[in-house]
């Protein structure tokens, strides 16, 4: 009898937990659904009938967005900017992190403190000095203004440094005894081993720079170098006012690349964030 009662109680517990989780899921997903629903509903039908169901399917909103907004250019700008930032970060941050974790030189401790300090400062705080520098170099309103400030990422250096510290020193020493110069150790040993960490910061870097609105709005004047969020917000302000259908279609198109990327590479993404070095010890 007691076991039976215990079973019933645990079932009620389970049900309760699932209801709470489901409520949370609805709370998270509902705005997303409303965005999709609105984007696929003909503009004059948006506020008629049940707001939660998709009854009048239409692609008019998307047609209008593509017709009126140079969306392909925004996409292209976005990929160029995000891709270049990522490549630049790999080229700069991997060697920097390796040096800070595994080479002995004067000023290493100081270097590490500077990296940590730089991590604590939000980039909005240094926005104006950077703006001044960029304008000195005539880079305002160019792709360079979106790329250069983010190539040296303190966060990436720190993340990679911690990763390198988890690899036994003897692996690098072994490479040295095998006759590899520091440069070749970097190419042949460090880069291949750093892949999980590079994937991790690549994801974080891609998402944050793809979605960034603040910085483009700060250094761009028109949509010549505009990335997707900046371009679309401009478009919303100028052209559409309170036209929700095309607005939501544009918003959907903004998140689409991230969503597709996530669905394709779901497993690698999770493995990357969990960041196992696959090292042997």
């Amino acid at each position: 009898m007691t076991t039976h009662a215990g079973e019933t109680r645990s079932r009620i517990m389970q049900a309760g937990i699932h209801i709470a989780l489901a409520a949370g899921a609805v709370f998270m997903l509902l705005p997303f659904w409303l965005m999709l629903r609105t984007s696929f509903t003909a503009p004059d039908q948006i506020f008629s009938g049940n707001v939660l169901t998709l009854t009048h399917f239409s692609l008019d909103n998307y047609a209008r967005v593509f017709a009126e907004v140079p969306l392909l250019r925004y996409y292209l700008n976005g990929f160029v900017v995000v891709g270049t930032i990522f490549l630049g970060q790999v080229v700069i941050c991997v060697p920097a992190a390796y040096a800070l974790s595994r080479l002995r030189f004067a000023g290493r401790e100081l270097g590490l403190w500077i990296v940590l300090a730089a991590m604590m400062v939000p980039y909005h705080a240094t926005a104006i000095p950077i703006y001044v520098l960029l304008s000195q170099f005539g880079l305002i309103n160019t792709h360079g203004a979106l790329i250069l400030p983010f190539i040296g990422s303190a966060f990436s250096v720190f993340l990679l440094r911690q990763f390198f510290l988890s690899i036994p020193q003897s692996v690098f020493e072994s490479a040295r005894l095998d006759g590899a110069s520091p440069y070749r150790i970097l190419i042949h040993i460090v880069f291949p081993m750093a892949r999980p960490a590079i994937i991790t910061f690549g994801i974080l870097s891609f998402v944050s720079h793809w979605n960034d609105y603040f910085w483009p709005s700060f250094v761009l004047r028109n949509d010549f170098a505009a990335t997707v969020p900046f371009g679309i917000v401009r478009f919303l302000d100028q052209e559409l006012g309170a036209d929700y259908g095309p607005q939501m279609a544009a918003a959907t198109l903004t998140v689409l690349p991230l969503l597709i990327g996530f669905l394709i590479a779901q497993r690698q993404l999770i493995a990357g964030i969990a960041m196992s070095s696959g090292q042997v010890d």
Binding site: P168, S170, V171, E173, L177, D178, G179, H188, Q279
Partner: protein, 366 residues
């Protein structure tokens, strides 16, 4: 097993010598080691043994160039290599934790030193296969380190070290991460492999069995100093001091002092006679567990009254824990003894060791 000519490109083996070598870390009170003078025989295995922290690993790191000594010189043959960087010193090292490159297959791990030396692809493949044949891992070359067992990983580590045919081969506790059975097997293989390659080998370990089994030249280190060096047999038979005696083969040690005509142990127990004992008023007596017997021992001998505390069956013999003269002793005996029993322990005169109070060897062994 014949050596593939490509796997071993060793000409005449290089002797390795260090002179007055010292290493201290900046700000440290005591040097890691100092005044080291060592001659490693060309083509043989030199084993450095000692407890953790005695400086043996740092010494090895100085030999291969990963650390720079503070003072002294290191010579490989005629060449002074003290200031040559690890990258150019041409030594190979086997690491305790294998230090394999996790993203490379066993083949690429072994090939790495050759690729760094810009050896052609065809020759690289030949030499990797030859080294793999010597270490018996031919079937595992396509695997990643994570897909190999500990013993297999260390075989890859050894193959990577020998593939270039280095004239000097260094090993830093290469067998310590393996389980006991594998360690004994690998020890025998390593010894055979080294004989075949003929590379001058310097091998660091804290395992006295390994040290005695493998060494051509044995060096016992403590606290950054050499306690004794020489042939392993000689060191085992004539340990220079109580530390060496205890570290290699854990010798039983008893304090003895003279009283009138006779001699007594620390707790006042009288001992009849100690052949060859030094003439000083007090000294230490040492003997090994396997040299103790009960009954039926002819010739000059010492006799010690002891009480049995515990007996462990080890197979054909017993390890008996005894109490004698206020200290604990161990003896390996054939006979069964019961706890609490009082026995007379006999040790042949030739198996007795004497040390002065400060631990140095005293008196001669017959």
């Amino acid at each position: 097993m014949t050596v593939h000519p490509l796997a071993t490109r060793i000409g005449a083996p290089t002797p390795v010598a260090v002179h007055n070598l010292a290493k201290s870390w900046p700000g440290a009170q005591r040097p890691v080691f100092s005044e080291l003078d060592i001659d490693c025989p060309a083509g043989g295995i030199t084993i450095i043994v000692g407890p953790s922290g005695c400086g043996k690993t740092t010494f090895l790191r100085c030999l291969c160039g990963l650390d720079v000594p503070t003072k002294g010189e290191i010579r490989f043959g005629d060449q002074d290599v003290t200031r040559i960087d690890a990258q150019h010193r041409g030594v190979a090292m086997v690491f305790q934790n294998y230090a394999l490159y996790p993203t490379k297959t066993a083949f690429d791990n072994i090939a790495f030193p050759l690729r760094m030396a810009r050896v052609g692809a065809a020759e690289t493949a030949d030499r990797v296969r030859a080294a793999a044949a010597l270490t018996r891992i031919e079937g595992l070359l396509e695997r990643l380190p994570s897909q190999l067992s500990g013993g297999q990983r260390q075989r890859v580590g050894i193959a990577r070290a020998i593939v270039r045919g280095p004239s000097v081969l260094l090993m830093d506790e290469p067998l310590s991460n393996l389980d006991t059975k594998l360690r004994v097997e690998m020890r025998a293989e390593l010894s055979a492999l080294q004989r075949e390659l003929g590379a001058t080998t310097v091998y660091v370990t804290h395992d006295q069995t390994e040290a005695l089994a493998l060494a051509d030249h044995l060096i016992v280190m403590r606290d950054g100093k050499i306690e004794q060096q020489g042939a392993p047999e000689e060191i085992f038979r004539h340990p220079a001091d109580v530390f060496v005696a205890d570290f290699l083969g854990s010798m039983n040690l008893l304090a003895v002092r003279r009283e009138g005509e006779g001699m007594v142990l620390a707790d006042g127990t009288r001992v009849s006679s100690l052949p060859g004992a030094p003439s000083s008023g007090s000294f230490q007596l040492g003997f090994r567990a396997e040299d103790a017997h009960i009954g039926g021992l002819a010739g000059d001998r010492a006799t010690l009254p002891a009480m049995v505390r515990r007996s462990e069956l080890m197979g054909s013999e017993r390890l008996v824990h005894l109490h004698c003269g206020g200290v604990a002793l161990r003896a390996r005996l054939k006979q069964a003894v019961a706890p609490g029993e009082h026995i007379d322990l006999h040790v042949h005169a030739s198996a007795l060791h004497y040390f002065s109070d400060d631990g140095q060897r005293a008196g001669a062994v017959a």
